[in-house]
């Protein structure tokens, strides 16, 4: 079967820092892949390149056989890759429902209506439905600026779902959530995401979460892939234990 995402020989440098070094990854439809690696290993850089925010120095990225390595985030989003952000990228002064309403209007039309009201029933319903899935419907009319960090992360993910992406990339969905709540949060996310996105890549630092929710793990170390395989294998790999999971964690 053809992979949804096919990445070949991806390279990216920032001055002397090698953030991506000959990355080659295939992701098949329906896979739930976890990216692990210490801070600075290049996980976010990978997500940034796949979504068109950073241009790779070398290498190719293909989505369903279409080359997207030189496209803009907008065009990549339209082709079917969505993402959430390590630091939520929201419209702080707008309400939660409005944030999602913007996402919804971006999906339906290439030209936005200059007169149809923003809170027209269809758009608002869709926005509320999404919030409901994350258990946030009661916060629909609160501005983001009044909401806690954890809630913002969820809304950030909800925004990414609106387009029903072929591939969904989540950058540290549970960061900033307390250890006790991590599982509950991840559970919520996985369930909320399920109806709209089957193929998921998520960046995660907590190995228990990784073990529970991923069916494949890719370990990064200073821009390189250290190991790639089933959670059992990767988490047991001596190099991974030494450079990624071992010691402090």
């Amino acid at each position: 079967m053809n992979p949804v995402l096919a990445v070949r020989g991806l390279e990216k440098r920032f001055g002397a820092v090698v953030a991506a070094d000959a990355l080659s990854i295939d992701i098949a439809a329906g896979q739930r892949v976890s990216l692990i690696g210490a801070n600075g290993a290049g996980k976010t850089t990978f997500v940034n390149m796949v979504t068109g925010y950073l241009k790779p120095d070398r290498g190719s990225i293909a989505l369903d056989g279409v080359h997207i390595g030189r496209r803009s985030p907008r065009s990549v989003a339209r082709l079917g890759i969505s993402r959430s952000f390590q630091v939520p990228q929201l419209f702080i002064e707008l309400t939660a429902a409005e944030n999602l309403a913007v996402a919804v209007s971006g999906m339906h039309a290439t030209t936005l209506s200059l007169h149809s009201p923003a809170e027209a029933p269809g758009r608002r319903d869709k926005a509320i439905e999404l919030l409901q899935r994350f258990g946030l419907a009661n916060l629909a009319d609160r501005p983001i600026s009044e909401l806690a960090g954890g809630v913002r992360k969820l809304i950030d993910i909800a925004m990414a779902l609106v387009r029903r992406p072929k591939l969904l990339l989540l950058d540290e969905p549970t960061s900033g959530v307390s250890a006790e709540e991590k599982f509950a949060t991840m559970d919520r996310v996985i369930h909320a995401v399920a109806p709209d996105a089957a193929t998921i890549v998520f960046v995660e630092h907590d190995m228990e979460i990784v073990g529970r929710y991923a069916d494949r793990v890719i370990a990064f170390y200073s821009g390189r892939i250290l190991a790639d395989g089933s959670p059992q294998d990767v988490l047991r790999d001596p190099e991974v234990r030494r450079y990624v999971t071992g010691g402090a964690r």
Binding site: R74, G106, S145, R163
Partner: protein, 320 residues
């Protein structure tokens, strides 16, 4: 919304002459400022609306003098078209800039135009030139009072309609997306929406408003010169917009009227202090009413109307 426009227009019949021309200028300046507010909702402040103001004014003046089109309504449309066309050329070029660079680039372009006008001798150079009194629907107005009222009516009606259009725009899908661009243009792009396109469209709308306003300023003064494009002219428009805040359309006209009143009173009683008064006023507004005078009544509306909480939240966006 249409009713207040008609009421204000008819009210002009009972106003003394000096207030009439003052109100005409206020409405016309308010129109440019409204355009700045439209654009500012995307987070970009134009310091060069004088460019489109002057383009409208010069376009109308040239067509009036060469082809004899003196009808006020037609002149307004010509001004709007001149501004809009220029906006259509410039908008896509500068939509990718933001913050200070956007402001500086708009200022630079208006100063290029100013510089070009000053040295164009066929357009009268820095002295400019005169145009004839406008007519309306083939009626020419010999009585100056009638002429003033005609101009007042046309400008108030135009500005009023523009205000209504802006209100609809602000509440629209596009209006919400414009605010989203201001908040986080990167996320807008990630949602598959072109932030540059949103900025460009808002820019063109602002240019249309400024062009139409240039036509009114020309009709009121019956004279045009490069000062229309000078940066201090643009600065005054920005001033009105800041005073108003970007939450309420009516605030723009209140601010514009306030500015004109302050100007005429300080000209009358305290020569050479009106900019001083303005400066202090501006500082006070930025300090105490950072969301403009519009926030005085928008905030109340939010409290009183539970259902429309969402709309006013768009407009207000509570600080954290």
């Amino acid at each position: 919304m249409v009713f207040p426009v008609i009421a204000v227009t008819l009210f002009g019949r009972v106003l003394p002459t000096w207030t009439l021309s003052l109100a005409t200028i206020a409405a016309s300046n308010g129109l440019v400022a409204l355009g700045i507010v439209v654009l500012a909702r995307t987070g970009n402040v134009s310091f060069g609306q004088g460019l489109f103001f002057a383009a409208g004014g010069y376009g109308v003046a040239l067509i009036a003098n060469n082809w004899g089109i003196t009808d006020a309504a037609a002149q307004m449309l010509i001004g709007a078209a001149c501004g809009g066309l220029l906006g259509l050329v410039i908008g896509p070029l500068i939509a990718r800039y933001s913050g200070i660079f956007f402001g500086m680039l708009t200022l630079a372009l208006s100063m290029v135009f100013y510089g070009a006008l000053v040295k164009t001798t066929v357009l009268g150079g820095s002295d400019g030139f005169n145009v004839v009194r406008p007519s309306l629907f083939a009626i020419s107005f010999v009585d100056p009072r009638e002429a003033d009222f005609m101009l007042y009516a046309v400008s108030v009606v135009t500005t009023g309609l523009a205000g209504i259009a802006a209100t609809i725009l602000f509440r629209s899908e596009f209006g919400l997306a414009s605010l989203a661009v201001r908040e986080n243009n990167l996320r807008v792009e990630y949602l598959g929406i072109s932030a540059n396109r949103i900025i460009t469209i808002n820019f063109v709308i602002a240019a249309v408003f400024a062009g139409a306003s240039g036509a009114f300023a020309l009709m009121a003064q019956r004279h045009i010169d490069p000062q229309f494009a000078y940066w201090t002219t643009s600065g005054e428009f920005v001033f009105i917009a800041v005073l108003a805040g970007y939450q309420s359309v009516s605030a723009v006209f209140v601010a514009s009227l306030a500015l004109e009143l302050v100007r005429s009173f300080s000209n009358l009683y305290l020569p050479n202090t009106w900019q001083l008064v303005l400066g202090v006023f501006l500082l006070a507004v930025i300090l105490f009413l950072p969301r403009g005078i519009g926030s005085l009544w928008i905030r109340q509306r939010r409290k009183s109307a539970g259902v429309s909480a969402e709309t006013s939240a768009v407009e207000e966006g509570a600080p954290s």
